[in-house]
Structure formats: C-alpha cells, structure tokens
C-alpha cells in the first residue's frame, strides 16, 4: 500500500506542476500591464521621465523584465515558500487576504459535507433495502428534483421561504452586525448564519449522493455473497450494514471525492448569494476587480484541493478494498 501511495504522490506532484504552468499561462494572458496598473494612481502628478523610471522600477520589482520561464520559476518558488504575491485590490499580501476566507469556506463546506453524509448514507441504504416501495419512490422523485435544480434556484426558494416570508434565518454574513457575547454565543451566532447556505448545499447534494448510495447498495445487495451471509444465519441488519455496505463503499468513495471537490467549487455561487466571505467570494471579487494575483492563488488552492481529494480517494480505496493492494 505504501508503495502504491508513494507512486500516486509522485504523480500528484507532477500534475501539480503541469497545472501551475497552465494557470500561470492563463494568468499571462491577462490583458494590461500590471506595472502600469500599479502606477495608475500616481501617474497624474508625475513628469514623463519620472514616470518612465518608476515604471521600469516597477517592472523590475515585479520581475516583468525577465523572460516568462524565469518569471514562472520565480513565481512557483515563491508559491512553494508560502509567498503568494501582492494583491493590488486589497493592497496587502495575498496570503493575508486569503487566510480568513479560507477558514470561512472550510467551515461552511465541512459542516455541509458532514450534514450531507449524515442524511444521505442512511437514506440511500433504506431506499436500497426498500427499493420500489412508496418511500423509495418518493425519495427518488425528490432526489431527481434536487439534483436537477441549480443551487441558486434552491437558494432563492429558501430565502423566500425561510428568510423573507418567515424571517427565521439571516440572509447574509458570517455574524450578526456588531455582535458581542461569549465565544460560545458567537459560535452559535455563526451557525445560525450558516444555516441557510448549508441547507442550500445540503438540498442540492442530497439527491445525487442518495441515488449513488442507493445504487451501490442495490448492486451489492444483489451479490451472491449476500445470499451466503443470509444462509449463514446472519441477521438482516448485519447483512445490510456490515456485508453489503462494506462493498457498496467502493463506488461511494469514488463519487464522494468528486462530490467534495464540486462542493468547494460550487460554493462560489453559494458564497455570492449569501455574501459569505469565503474564497469563492474572494475569487469572484478578484475576477471582478482584476486582482489577478489573488485569482491565481485561489486557482492553485482549488488545484491543491482537487489533488488532495484524489489522494484521499486513493487511500480510501486501499482501505476499503483489499484487492487494490495488488495493483
């Protein structure tokens, strides 16, 4: 297993560099000269020769006078050292711009992921066991609706019902404005603000994950070894949750990693609707404000998330299926 993981890690590093080149290439396609952009504010009161000098200095400082491969090398070295560049919009280092939103996004997505798992896995199993029953059919209908609707429509409906018609939850923000109170009270206030975005994410994901869990469970319940287990006198509960579910985990692991990645990229929409100051919002604002250093850092973050997701999937595979080890 260690050898397998090591192989995957080497591959991941390779992919990381490919992606970083790709991202850097896209970044280089940005129209406009960052050095001129930097001097935009102070241009007016400057003599042309002074401006030209300052411009050359800015170019040097930003490393724009060097050939592109060198620029890439400098950038990636800095990245790996934890220096993500300078945000022209926020006028501070990207790392400082990104730190708090990163934690906000993590909190939001992790809560949503936990809730989704807590609901979908039991639901999918029950549907598989009672397939074609009324309960199953009702869940199937809702799941089709759930995964067919885009998150922003679900968000609009929920805002309408739970924030406007019946003002139960706040529509936006992380904490109430000017909130004071103990740390615990603040945490609850945060959870309260999280409720709507999490609910939207959960409703948007429940459908597809439940369907996958159900399909995997039905597949695994139809296997011969389930009949063997039953013939041994294993209780039905153990047959389902131990024998069948362990096997169903394999396909579930595959799609769940993909889903977790899509939660991170999908939270761009959620964060925008609910004004949740996460990286999705930062990316959005960065693109709007043409703050491309921030955008680049965000893109690399998404790539890392994706690669980590794949690594977790590989490890989970090894743990779930004894047959993988032989590969």
């Amino acid at each position: 297993m260690a050898k397998y993981i090591a192989k995957r890690l080497v591959y991941m590093v390779f992919v990381f560099f490919i992606m970083s080149i790709l991202m850097f290439g896209i970044y280089k396609m940005v129209p406009g000269d960052p050095a001129r952009l930097l001097l935009e504010g102070s241009k007016a009161g400057m003599k042309p020769e002074v401006y030209e000098m300052q411009y050359q200095q800015a170019r040097e400082r930003l490393g724009l006078d060097k050939p592109i491969p060198v620029q890439y090398a400098v950038w990636i070295t800095n990245m790996l050292k934890g220096d993500f560049g300078y945000s022209s919009n926020y006028r501070k280092d990207v790392i400082d711009v990104v730190a708090q939103p990163l934690s906000n996004t993590m909190q939001l997505n992790l809560v949503a992921i936990v809730v989704v798992f807590a609901i979908t896995i039991p639901l999918g199993i029950i549907c598989a066991v009672k397939k074609r029953s009324t309960f199953d059919n009702v869940v199937q209908v809702f799941s089709v609706v759930g995964y067919s609707l885009p998150t922003f429509i679900i968000a609009l409906v929920l805002i309408c019902l739970l924030a406007v018609k019946a003002p139960i939850f706040p529509v936006s923000g992380v904490n109430s404005v000017g909130f004071t109170g103990s740390a615990l009270a603040k945490a609850f206030d945060k959870l309260w603000h999280m409720a709507l975005p999490v609910l939207v994410m959960v409703l948007g994901s429940i459908g597809s994950i439940t369907r996958y869990v159900r399909a995997a469970m039905i597949e695994s319940l139809s296997m011969d070894y389930i009949r063997t287990a039953r013939a041994k006198g294993v209780r039905e509960r153990a047959v389902i949750y131990s024998h069948a579910f362990r096997n169903a985990l394999l396909p579930i692991v595959t799609i769940v990693t993909g889903w977790i990645m899509s939660v991170f990229s999908g939270s761009v929409i959620i964060e925008n609707i609910f004004l949740w100051p996460g990286i999705g919002k930062i990316l959005f604002d960065g693109l709007m404000q043409q703050d491309f250093m921030v955008v680049l850092a965000m893109q690399m973050f998404y790539v890392i998330i994706a690669l980590l997701g794949n690594l977790i999937m590989d490890i989970a595979y090894c743990m779930v299926d004894p047959r993988v080890k032989l590969d």
Partner: protein, 602 residues
C-alpha cells in the same frame, strides 16, 4: 448436387439449428427475442410513463423556445421605464362592470387606468400595486362628486365638482403633494398626471406644476395666464396657448421642444416619448421630434379634430367620428379594432400603450396593451419573451457544449481503448487532470480573462468551448470501457483466432453499444451543461445582459424586494430552467433503463 446448392442447404440447416423450426406462430416471448435491440429500447422507453411524460414536457419547452424566438424577434436594447416590474396578468384595460355604460371620463396610467362615472364615482383598474405598501386602488374617501381624473405613472389626481383636488399613489417625488397656493384655487379647468409629476391648468390660463422637477425642468415664464391645455410626457411639458400657439414649457432643450413655426393655429396637442404633435385649425396633423418608424404617418390625415398621445403612438379623432391610430404597434396599440369605427365614438383616451374609445352609450372599447402574461422585469422587458429567448440561448449553449464534449470523449476514449498501452495511459492521465480541474472557478477565470478581449458572440462561443473542453473525461472513460469490454469478449478473441480483422469486428460490435451509452450520458450531460451555463451566467461570467439566458435572468433576484414583491421575475425563469433540467434528467434515466433493463430491476 452442385456446390452452390450444398452450401445453401447447409446454411438453411444452420439457421434451423439456431432458430429451431418456426412453423408455429411466434409467441410474445419469441417475438421479443427477434426484435432489433434499438426497437426494444424504444419499446421499453415508451412503456416508461415518467420518461414519456418528461419527454413530452421537454418537447413542449424545446419547441416553444425554438419557435417563439423565430417568430418574435427580440430587441436587445429595448427598455421601458414606465413598464418596470409589472405583475403578470391581462387586466390592464379591464373596465369595471359598474363603470361600463356609465363612463364620464377615463385617464390612462402606465399600467393602470382611472375612470370616473357620470355619478362622480372613481374606479381604478389594471396593475395598481406600485410598491408593497402603495396601491393606487386605495382611493381616498369623501372626495364627493368627482368630475375629472388624471392617471400618471404611479399616482392619480382627481378633481371634484367643488373644484377640490385630490392626489394619491406614490408620492416619493412629491407628485401627490398639492402645492399650497393651488389649494385655494377653485377654477381648475384640467388636471394632468405625468411621470412622477402633476400639473393643473386653471380657467384663467395659469399652469401649476409639481412633482419631480429633477426630471422635468418646468418653466412657463411669459406664457403664464395664456395656457389653454398642456401635454406631459416623461421628459417635458408642451403647452397650447389660448390663441393657438404651441409652446415648450421645459427649460432645457428636448427632442420635441423645437416646434415647427409654419404650422398655423393649433387646436390640440399631444406628446409621445420622443415626439410632439399638434392638430391645426384646418384639421391637419404636425409631428416633430425624434421621428422613428411610422410616427409621422398621421401627417397625411385630414379633418382631424383631436389628438391623444401614448408612449410611441398617436390616436386621433376625425370630424366624421372615425378613430385613427399610428406609430409603434408592438402591443397592438395602433391597431384600431374595426368595431370602434362601426360604433358611435364620442371620445378617445390614450396613454402609454392603452386606448379606450368611449361610445355614445358610455361604453368603452379598448385596444393596445392588456398586460404581460408573465409580467415584466426591472427594465420593463417582457419576462415571457426573455424566457423564450433565454431558453434558446441556454439550450443552444448546452447542446453545442455537449456535442463538443461527446466528440472529444469518443475520439479520446476510442483511441485510448483501441490502442491501449502507453497511448491509453497518457490519454487517461490527461483525462484525470481535466477531471480534477475545479470546474466552476476555472470556467469563471477563463471566461473573465479571455472573455474581456472578445465581443459578445465570441464570448458565447467561448463559453460553449469551455463547457465542452472541461466535461469530456466522463464520456472518454465510458467509451474506453466499452471498447475494452468488447475487445475482451470471447467472440472477438475467437474471431481473431480465425483471422478476421480485429478492427472491423471491434467497431461493428462497439458502435451500437457505445451509441446507446453515449446517448444516455449526453442526455444527462445536456442537463448539467445547462445548469453550469446558468450558474456562470448567474454569476455574470457567462452570457451577459442584455442578452437573456435563464441564468442571468435570475442575476440580481436575490434581494428580498424582488423575491417577495416581484416574484414573477425569478419564479418563472426558475420554473423554466428547473422543469427543463428535471425532464431531461428523467428522460436520461428512462433511456438508461431502456438500454439496460437490468438496471431497471434494481
């Protein structure tokens, strides 16, 4: 026995062995076995009620968004401030029954109308809700016997037989704040309501003007005391003096403030949004200002008695009692129904896009804008038309994106599965990388960075390409798996052993299998491409305003005002998008069950 004959015989016996002796009638089971796989798939699909209903719903939506935009062209620059956020419905010109047959006067507002009966009772109908709290239907009590009414864009004036003036509706721009010096004036001849402003003309030729002076810079100067009647639109005021001179009562220069001089003595004036018009003593019509399309058509008329102006059309009454209308006709406001000229019309009231012709029996015949079936948006654009055009855009982008992704998927998957080895490994690694790309952020970034350099059509093409380029790995994997599965099947191995060329046999067996798998995956992919496009457009990184898509129609709808008050702006596009994706997904599910009935048993 000849060789040929022998071969024939042996073939017959092989067939006989394969199928047995089928002299008897075929039972239903045998028939099923004999059917071609495609027919079985279709039969299975048709038997699936949910999938069939979905197919019908989808076809209805699909044909609507295909046919409607082909018939009704969309003007992307169209905006209409007087028709903003109009609720759905067709009651704009629904004259109340109690008023019908007893009409004294009607005044046309932007989306509603006000009428007064011969008994002095005031009625308001149409889209009367201005904001969540203001409704022009809330007529003030104790107005006494009302003799005159004037409806504006969002407020109403009324005058009773005592000369008292009343105003209600939206007063944000003080259009309902009757000036103190007017309150004592008892000889008001005529009242007027415009866009966020009001005016009154007295018997002695004075004009009082109040409301939003930021929009209309009212200036009467030397003409105070000489005015007979005025006309108001959303930009300015025109006056007609008692001696028949047409004058502009606006301080600043407007399209219609250059009044032709050679006109002669005028008896009636009217305004549209961009032009002014006057009827002269000798029954001729003069139109001036920003003349567009057909707005000057009325200049050929003769024997005109009076004229009324809408937003972009005029209605005139002739001396012989005929009613003529000309100008824009997008809501049928210039198409006078034939029954108008059959009846004995005494007066015509025109405003905005509505017309009322009052017959001598006090009844109203109406034409023009009845309302919008799905309401209008914040720029006054018809939501239905935008849904239809937006649907065509969303579906086109989704379909082309899917064609791109399926094509790439088939080529890469086919090559990968067929050649195997190193080629397979490299291609599958690439697929893995593309699959691992965070979809939405990446698409946003690409669209933002590349999209800035190009025009709107290229942008739309770019979005299709981005969607297609980012979603092929799934299809490639499916195709590759099919190719591999077929390659390893025993009959292929057997055929290879006999010496049949591998390429032929693989492709002959793979294509039917791949086609069915690809159709299923393309159907489901179509729905998700539509969803992604909508998400991008919703965020502002896809198709941009004013070109509609289902996604960008919902952009800006998350404020609580829109969600609650202008619900039609987000509910209808959401239903259109949701219904489409749900039905496409159900069709996809149905197809999958039809292709692979085993999955159905699960």
């Amino acid at each position: 026995m000849s060789k040929e004959n022998k071969a024939k015989k042996s073939r017959v016996s092989i067939l006989g062995l394969l199928f047995g002796n089928r002299k008897k009638q075929l039972s239903f089971l045998e028939e099923e076995q004999l059917q071609s796989p495609m027919r079985t798939v279709i039969k299975n699909f048709v038997a699936n009620k949910v999938a069939m209903v979905s197919l019908i719903i989808f076809l209805i939506i699909f044909l609507s968004v295909l046919i409607y935009p082909a018939v009704n062209h969309i003007d992307l620059t169209y905006q209409e401030q007087t028709q903003q956020n109009v609720a759905p419905g067709f009651n704009m010109m629904k004259v109340p029954k109690k008023l019908q047959g007893n009409i004294k006067e009607i005044s046309v507002g932007s989306t509603f109308s006000v009428g007064v009966s011969n008994d002095g009772e005031v009625f308001v109908w149409g889209k009367t809700k201005i904001t969540s709290v203001i409704d022009v239907k809330d007529i003030p009590e104790n107005m006494g016997k009302v003799v005159q009414v004037a409806a504006g864009a969002d407020h109403v004036l009324a005058l009773n037989d005592q000369g008292e003036l009343f105003a209600w509706g939206n007063s944000r721009n003080k259009q309902c704040a009757i000036p103190e010096n007017l309150k004592t004036v008892k000889n008001i001849k005529r009242i007027y309501s415009g866009f966020q402003c009001s005016a009154a003309v007295t018997e002695d030729g004075n004009v009082y003007f109040w409301g939003n002076t930021g929009i209309i810079d009212f200036k009467i100067g030397e003409y105070q005391g000489q005015i007979d009647k005025i006309a108001i639109n959303s930009q300015g005021v025109l006056g007609l003096t008692k001696d028949g001179q047409v004058v502009s009562l606006t301080a600043n220069e407007l399209a219609f403030s250059r009044i032709p001089e050679e006109m002669g003595k005028a008896v009636d004036i009217a305004l549209t949004a961009q032009t002014g018009a006057a009827v002269t003593e000798d029954g001729k019509v003069y139109v001036w200002g920003n003349k567009t399309k057909t707005i000057h058509e009325g200049e050929t008329l003769e024997g005109v008695v009076s004229i009324e102006g809408g937003r972009y059309h005029y209605t005139a009454m002739l001396a012989n009692g005929d009613v003529v209308a000309w100008g824009h006709d997008d809501f049928g406001q210039s198409s006078v129904p034939s029954k108008v000229n059959k009846a004995n019309v005494t007066t015509v009231y025109t405003g905005y896009y509505q017309n009322y012709a009052i017959t001598d029996s006090g009844k109203a015949i109406t034409w023009g804008l009845k309302g919008y079936i799905l309401g209008t948006d914040n720029y006054g654009r018809d939501v239905l038309s935008r849904i239809m055009h937006g649907g065509r855009m969303t579906m086109t982008i989704g379909a082309i994106a899917i064609i791109i992704s399926v094509t790439i998927g088939i080529i890469i998957g086919g090559v990968s599965g067929y050649f195997g080895g190193k080629v397979d490994m490299i291609l599958m690694r690439i697929a893995e990388i593309v699959y691992a790309l965070p979809f939405l952020p990446f698409a946003m970034t690409l669209s933002a960075i590349i999209g800035n350099k190009i025009n709107e059509t290229q942008r739309i093409a770019l979005i299709m390409v981005i969607l297609g380029l980012l979603s092929w790995p799934g299809d490639a994997r499916l195709v590759r798996a099919q190719v591999l599965a077929e390659r390893n099947k025993e009959f292929v191995t057997a055929a290879r052993a006999v010496g049949v060329r591998q390429k032929g046999i693989i492709f002959r067996h793979i294509i039917p299998n791949v086609v069915s798998v690809i159709i299923v995956s393309a159907t489901l992919g179509f729905a998700s491409a539509m969803l992604t496009e909508s998400g991008l457009s919703f965020l502002g990184f896809g198709v941009r305003e004013p070109r509609p898509t289902w996604g960008n129609m919902l952009n800006g709808c998350q404020s609580s005002t829109v969600i609650l008050q202008y619900w039609w702006r987000w509910v209808f596009p959401s239903i259109a998008l949701g219904l489409s994706t749900i039905s496409i997904n159900l069709i996809g599910d149905g197809l999958r069950d039809a292709v692979d009935p085993k999955a159905n048993e699960r």
